[in-house]
């Protein structure tokens, strides 16, 4: 079964802007799917729907087996907390928390036990076991994004959503990040959905979905 299943989804914002027009997409566990397209093509809207941040206007979004339109705000929160991890272009680490504390945060939010040990383990997984006490401003861009990946994967999510994960990094750092994302699918079995402009990023994907004007124009496998 696909971790992300989108069927005939439309999204119309207030004011009548139609961001998605009848989109259907399946993202399987252990696979990386790349969304490619120009700005305003609907990538972010689709990511929001796949990240349980929003509801479709029509159609159905099923994430890790749960149809989002049947959930209330608390249900969506629960889904995000347990099944989804996010990686952003600008890292979005909390500047006042150390690397370890940033990674620990989703576990604390979901009230899990042994949070520190789990977070430490995930930091080791991204190769930053020596940076646990560092604050974000003491890290390089690449290191910050690795911390962000550790945070997104610390609770073993079924789905990893990455919005331009290499968009703010140099090539070398970008390569490290893409390898980690690949490993997330291969080793952890997550269904990874990346929105990207970068050809390198698209190259690591199993499926490349080209979008334009709120529709899926082409799917390459």
């Amino acid at each position: 079964m696909s971790a992300i299943s989108i069927r005939e989804v439309t999204k119309v914002y207030e004011g009548g802007v139609e961001a998605l027009r009848g989109v259907s997409l399946e993202c399987a566990s252990g696979h990386v799917t790349a969304l490619i397209g120009r700005s305003g093509c609907g990538k972010t809207t689709l990511l929001n729907l796949c990240g349980a941040m929003d509801f479709p206007t029509t159609g159905e979004v099923s994430l890790a087996g749960q149809v989002t339109s049947r959930l209330d705000d608390a249900g969506l929160t629960h889904l995000r907390r347990n099944k989804i991890g996010f990686v952003f272009q600008f890292f979005q680490l909390l500047p006042s928390l150390s690397a370890l504390e940033n990674v620990e945060l989703p576990l604390l939010l979901s009230g899990r036990k042994n949070t520190e040990a789990t977070a430490r383990e995930r930091l080791r997984w991204v190769g930053l076991e020596d940076k646990t006490r560092s604050l974000p401003y003491q890290l390089s861009g690449g290191q910050m994004q690795r911390v962000a990946i550790a945070r997104a994967l610390v609770h073993d999510p079924a789905i990893l959503i990455a919005d331009e994960p290499t968009g703010n990094l140099d090539n070398a750092s970008g390569d490290v990040i893409l390898k980690l994302i690949r490993r997330a699918a291969d080793e952890l079995g997550a269904a990874v959905l990346i929105a990207t402009h970068s050809a390198e990023a698209a190259a690591v994907a199993d499926v490349r979905v080209r979008m334009g004007d709120g529709r899926i124009e082409k799917v390459e496998r």
Binding site: T77, I84, F86, Q92, P95, L97, E101, L105, L109
Partner: protein
């Protein structure tokens, strides 16, 4: 203008809740200052004699300690001047069946022309005529022709009302001088002589001739001088209230600083763009100073309105205190002059303007290419923590040094300055304090609050510059509560201990009349003997007290049986002891302080026609009034002023006798005399009530400062939320439920309260020492023993903390309603 509307008005409208909170903070700060000023003016401004209505506008008052000799009226009337000399007796009198009021005895025949009702008097009958003030007539439903029975010291007499005199806010009865002398057993004596000059008469010449005629120990004063004297007497009291009211304004200043700082941070991108578009740094500075000034003007205008309403509420309380502790006065009307409105507007706006100067200058420093980054400000704040700590130590040392100096012109100016320096030191310590405490609590916070606890603490440190300002503002308000609480609590305890030592008798008596400072109605001469003969009475101490003038200020002169005082009352001395020899006196601590007296010094006190040279045998602790008292043995007083009436009686019952039964017996035997007979506990309770009432205004002021600080806390938490939309959005992305976001903000509020509470307590303890040992001592001369009311203060702190958490409810709800997607993409 267009730029101002777009860059200032629009954002202010966008953050309407915060704008309203800020305006209200300024308004309350200004309102308190206005209210204290207006009600203080009204409470002290009405010393003009009510006699103006009866005898016309008085130009001079001739007075002497212990009263003036009537024969001088004849000598003065013979002077070659165009002036009228009116003998006056002013005493409390009992209207049988209606309670007491003030009685003026004047020369009705010569005053008839000046009376408002100039209908002819019957020369045979004028001794029984009475004039009644309009207010009294209205209250007692009296009209012309009604009969009144008045009871004086030992005599009673019937009068017929012939005049209802229009007089504002005053209650009195006027009768002929002869009738007044008879009522009060004052044959041949007067309280004072009032002088009314004819138009065109040379005042200087008249004054010179009067002084040449009356004994040199007498005073010839203008009524203005008397009012001025009263104002001087109230100066310390009013200054202390004024300073307290400024605290609210100071707290408001912190909040303006914070509001503008938030504005600068939130509009950093706009500032950067504006600079890139060619707006110079001066332009940016003006934009933010304009915003602060606008908030200042609107807030102050609102403050004037609230202040006028608050003044009416405070007037009663302040008048009560003035009457109980300082001097008898009737509150005048509250007058809000255009000048005071202008002063309030200017003060509020200036405070807002200067508070905004630092953040506005920071905004102006933003380079065109670089939008101001919040992180830089916070980084700099963290970087300067050590330097600030060092500066705090220096500032605190200056505060300590300032406390060593004496008063300036009778005011503890340097003591006040020390409190300001202490607040400044606290502001400098705040960043280190916040960082340190959050660091210490970090594990506990995470354990208690999970993610919410972890982030709450860190966010406060991350916004250190802003957090420090809020903590300082709140801590200042709390320190005021703590310091005044400790001062009042210590004072109360000191007074209670003193009352225990002072009020040793079982029953106390005084003549009926207002129980206000400076008024001592006499008791009939045969009362002490009746008391002595009552079964169960062991000993009777009689006191003669009257108001007198010494070195330009008024105080109380009292004479008692020193042998009984020594044996019965456990007085504590600052130095020296009871007067043993003739012409020796003991004085209260405030009196010694005011006149720089030490044991062994000689006071030259004019008493009627002669001057008594009294050696100070001792200085004793006394908290009854800050006017001060000189206490001599009765034999000493009688040498200078023979035939002195008794004004207070203290009755000691025999061991084993039932004090209540003795009191009932006394009430029965003395039922024909207008006396107040009170058992020990009633007097003690009344004294504590007067004390508590005195500090009601103080508590009201404290409450306002706390409210202003709470508004500030809510405002700042909201600012923190607005400034962290992205962070809150992120946390929601990471799986935070709305409840968790709410809890996080509430924990921040609680942490703010905790930080401010602990810093405020430390500052409050320091300030209480300044208040007790510097400000109070220099203002009033009282030594207060340090007795902090720990339980009460702990309760108050807990309450303030709870209210701070409450202040976080709205920001918490606001934060929890932020849409994560919108919040993340907004910036």
């Amino acid at each position: 203008m267009k730029l101002f509307r777009r860059l200032i008005l629009r954002p202010l409208r966008r953050d309407l809740t915060r704008t309203v909170l800020t305006l209200f903070s300024i308004a309350l700060g200004v309102a308190v200052v206005i209210a204290i000023e207006l009600s203080g003016d009204a409470a002290t401004g009405s010393f003009e004699s009510s006699l103006t209505t009866l005898v016309g506008k008085v130009d001079y008052e001739i007075t002497a300690n212990g009263g003036v000799d009537e024969t001088y009226i004849g000598k003065l009337a013979a002077l070659p001047v165009n002036a009228r000399f009116s003998p006056v007796i002013e005493e409390p009198v009992v209207i049988v069946g209606h309670g007491s009021t003030t009685l003026y005895g004047i020369d009705l025949i010569s005053s008839a022309g000046a009376s408002t009702d100039s209908q002819s008097f019957d020369p045979e009958q004028f001794e029984h005529y009475a004039a009644v003030s309009n207010d009294l007539a209205e209250r007692l439903h009296l009209k012309k022709g009604d009969a009144l029975r008045l009871k004086g010291r030992s005599q009673s007499a019937d009068f017929t009302i012939r005049t209802i005199a229009p007089d504002r806010n005053n209650e009195w009865i006027g009768v002929d001088i002869a009738a007044a002398q008879s009522l009060f057993d004052m044959n041949g004596r007067l309280d004072r002589i009032e002088v009314v000059l004819s138009p065109g008469e040379n005042a200087g010449n008249v004054e010179r001739l009067i002084k040449a005629t009356v004994p040199s120990t007498w005073d010839v004063l203008t009524p203005g001088a008397r009012s001025e004297e009263n104002r001087r007497m109230l100066r310390a009291f009013r200054w202390n209230l004024r300073i307290l009211s400024y605290i609210s304004l100071l707290v408001g200043a912190f909040l303006i600083y914070n509001t503008i700082a938030v504005s600068v941070v939130r509009r950093r991108t706009e500032i950067g763009i504006l600079r890139a578009l060619g707006v110079n740094s001066r332009g940016v500075l003006l934009i933010f100073l304009g915003e602060a000034s606008m908030l200042g003007v609107i807030g102050s205008a609102l403050g004037v309105v609230i202040g006028r309403l608050l003044a009416a509420a405070l007037l009663g309380m302040i008048s009560d205190t003035v009457n109980a502790l300082f001097t008898t006065s009737t509150p005048g009307p509250i007058s809000l002059s255009p000048l005071s409105v202008l002063a309030a507007l200017l003060t509020g706006t200036a405070v807002a303007f200067f508070s905004a100067l630092i953040p506005a200058r920071e905004a102006a420093r933003v380079a065109p290419a670089e939008a101001m980054r919040r992180a830089i400000v916070e980084y700099e704040t963290r970087l300067h923590v050590r330097r600030d700590l060092l500066m705090a130590a220096v500032v605190a040392a200056i505060a300590a040094v300032l406390c060593r100096f004496g008063p300036i012109d009778g005011r503890p100016v340097l003591g006040y300055a020390a409190t300001l320096f202490a607040v400044a030191a606290t502001a400098l310590v705040a960043p280190a304090f916040v960082t340190g405490i959050v660091f210490v609590l970090r594990t506990t916070l995470k354990r208690i609050g999970g993610a919410a606890g972890l982030i709450a603490g860190r966010s406060l440190v991350a916004s250190l510059s802003r957090t420090s300002i809020v903590v300082t503002a709140l801590a200042t308000a709390i320190s005021m509560m703590i310091s005044v609480g400790i001062m009042v609590g210590s004072f109360r305890e000191t007074v209670q201990v003193w009352l225990d030592a002072q009020l040793r008798a079982d029953i106390f008596m005084r003549a009926q009349g207002p129980a206000t400072a400076g008024i001592y109605p006499p008791i009939a001469p045969n009362v002490p003997d009746i008391v002595r003969q009552t079964p169960g009475v062991a000993e009777v101490d009689t006191l003669r007290a009257f108001e007198f003038r010494y070195e330009g200020t008024r105080a109380t002169f009292a004479a008692a049986n020193m042998d009984i005082v020594r044996r019965r009352r456990f007085l504590k001395f600052v130095s020296g002891t009871f007067p043993a020899a003739p012409d020796t006196a003991m004085v209260t601590e405030p009196f010694a302080d005011k006149h720089h007296l030490r044991t062994g010094d000689v006071m030259h006190i004019p008493l009627s026609g002669s001057t008594a040279a009294l050696t100070v045998s001792g200085i004793y602790y006394d908290y009854s009034s800050d006017r001060g008292t000189v206490l001599v043995d009765r034999s000493t007083l009688l040498r200078y002023l023979p035939d002195q009436p008794v004004t207070n009686i203290a009755v000691y019952v025999q061991p084993g006798a039932d004090a209540a039964k003795v009191r009932r017996d006394l009430e029965m035997r003395l039922r024909d005399f207008p006396l107040v007979i009170a058992p020990n506990e009633v007097l003690r309770r009344a004294a504590v009530e007067v004390f508590d009432r005195t500090f009601t205004v103080t508590y009201a002021l404290e409450a306002v400062a706390i409210v202003v600080a709470m508004l500030g806390a809510a405002n700042s938490l909201l600012a923190l939320v607005l400034d962290r939309r992205r962070e809150i959005g992120l946390i929601r992305y990471l799986g935070a439920a709305t409840g968790q976001v709410r809890r996080m903000i509430l924990m921040e509020a609680g942490l703010l309260g905790l930080l401010a509470g602990s810093l405020g307590s430390a500052l409050g303890m320091a300030l209480s020492l300044v208040l007790i040992y510097v400000v109070n001592k220099q203002s009033f001369g009282w030594t207060i023993q340090f007795h902090p009311p720990a339980l009460l203060l702990a309760g108050a702190l807990l309450l303030v903390w709870a209210v701070t958490v409450l202040a976080g409810v709205y920001p918490a709800r606001f934060a929890s309603r932020l849409q994560p997607g919108e919040a993340m993409h907004e910036e």
